[in-house]
Amino acid sequence: MKDTIYKKILRRKNLVVGIIITLAVVFMAIFAPLMSPYHPIDDADLMVSDQPPSIEFLFGTDEQGRDILSRVIYGARVSLSIGLLSQAMNTVIGVVLGLLAGFMGKWWDDIIMGLTNIMLSIPSLVFALAIMALLGPGLINVFLALGFTNWAYTCRITRSQVLSSQELNFVKAAQALGYGKIRIMFTQILPNIVGPILVIGTLGVAGAILIEAGLSFLGLGTQPPTPSWGGMLATAREQLFTSPWISIFPGLAIFITVLGLNLLGDGWRDYMDPRISRQ
């Protein structure tokens, strides 16, 4: 049976590609100090600024004379942590609010769903922009801004899962047996929403990396010299035509990572969906 699970995953080429890319990026993030030839911030030397790719600097150097390869490798840490932490925040907020709305009902439900609708109708980029303007640029602030803006879908899914599960016989039985809400929450509801939340989470991590890039473009992302891919891209955009390597490599890094995460999330959803995985 284990064999067929592997086989089923392997059958989905996109899922396989997604898994490989994601693992590679995670690996890069974890072992950044071992993999990068230079330090991403301290090894700056203006004498070698704007060098095109060479043996010494595989990806070239930026305008500060820093090795781009090292910055891209370290950037995986920054960008992934932005994605993961902010998405973790979103998930926690979404699940907690969803559970509250579903279980408490009444005006709890009204208020939380009202808030969810408001959140869904404010474009997350605009909201994140406003929060960043309040907090100022910086890594921690990016976590916060992105972590507060993208929980609405998770909240909705959790809530609908709670509501539909309350109709299920086993939950009714559990309630009849006098199980507390918390126990039902952990035994019946959370296991059911893990799948969809992981899918949303994967796509959310990808989305957060992109939004951070957008915020950096507007000057409200992580602050230099922290090597985030979005930030590197934003500073290098003026030099796109004169020193293209400075922006091409972080751009590719974002592209490949987001592509990988998307393929992973999509593939996973397909995999979980019994309707599509029938064949």
Binding site: S121, L125, A133, R275, I276
Partner: protein, 309 residues
């Protein structure tokens, strides 16, 4: 249906009040103020700065400002721009059309590429063609938008000289092309994915088997039975996408110097021209709500099972 529309429109009110409260609080506690930005490159004299702040009522307590704002809002007045010598209403009115043009063109691009791509992918499910077209689709969302825009600029205006790099021109078509593509590609990808999933779902339906048992050609089945039934799902996604599209104009308009709501909004945030920001956000949200209402109403047209009372 009319009653439903009216009810939905009434439901806008609490949403808008909620949003305006959140945004008002958020925006009015931002550090810095418009008077400091009034000079641009130049520094202004302290007394002028103080005078401006007073003229704009920035010396009043927050709740007073909120009450004034809400009172004006109730009359449909979004106030006076701090820095631009214009009413916010007029300012926004002149910016809506460019943004709408851009967003609608982007949506058209997204729909005309995304839906066929999704169809293609679904009908060849599991093949290399499927994988390839999905990777193409996902690529659309995987690029930071400003990066994509710059690459397009580099390729199509700097190298090929086909399109102007930026600006609005006389509102002609040629200025619209690159920004619309940049904006539309992300939504295209999401639409392609939704379409694919929807088509796969519909293909499994019993009535498709019925249609085939009638001896209808695949083409006719796809066109008549599959497409129509996927439309509800596609439309829902398109509606939501339109909302986020309008949000993304913030970046695309800035990059292409497009004189729309998005660039106005960004600039005004940085300049702390708070009335403009509030008005702009309200506008964007209103557009989102209206588009989604229209989508809901369109369901009625497409799906006879849906009836609104």
């Amino acid at each position: 249906m009319l009653a439903y529309t009216v009810r939905r429109l009434l439901q806008f009110i609490p949403t808008i009040i909620g949003i305006s409260l959140i945004m008002f609080c958020l925006l009015n506690v931002l550090p810095g103020n418009a008077a400091l930005m009034a000079g641009g490159k130049r520094e202004l004299s302290p007394e002028l700065i103080e005078k401006m702040k007073k003229d704009w009522g920035l010396d009043k307590p927050l709740y007073v400002r909120y009450l004034i704002y809400m009172k004006d809002l109730a009359h449909g007045d979004l106030g006076q721009s701090f820095l631009r010598q214009e009413k916010v209403n007029d300012l926004l009115a002149s910016r809506i059309w460019p943004t709408l043009r851009l967003a609608v063109s982007a949506m058209v691009i997204a729909l005309t590429i995304g839906i066929p791509l999704g169809f293609f992918s679904a009908l060849r499910q599991g093949t290399w063609g499927d994988s390839a077209s999905m990777i193409v689709a996902v690529s659309g969302v995987a690029m930071p938008q400003f990066w994509l825009g710059l690459l397009l600029m580099l390729l199509f205006s700097a190298k090929m000289n086909w399109f102007p790099t930026s600006g609005y021109g006389d509102g002609d078509f040629i200025h619209l092309v690159l920004p619309a593509i940049t904006l539309g590609l992300g939504s295209m990808a999401l639409l392609a994915r939704t379409t694919r999933a929807a088509v796969l779902e519909v293909l499994e339906e019993d009535f498709i088997r019925t249609a085939r048992s009638k001896g209808l050609s695949r083409f006719l089945i796809n066109r008549r039975h599959v497409f129509q039934n996927t439309l509800v799902l596609i439309l829902t996604t398109a509606g939501l996408q339109f909302g986020s599209l309008i949000g993304q104009t913030v970046i695309v308009e800035k990059l292409f110097s497009w004189p729309g709501l998005g660039s106005l909004l960004v600039d005004s945030i940085f300049l702390r021209d708070i009335p403009v920001v509030q008005g702009g956000i309200l506008m964007i949200i209103l557009a989102f709500l209206i588009v989604n209402l229209v989508v809901d109403l369109l369901y009625c047209v497409i799906d006879p099972r849906i009836k609104y009372q």
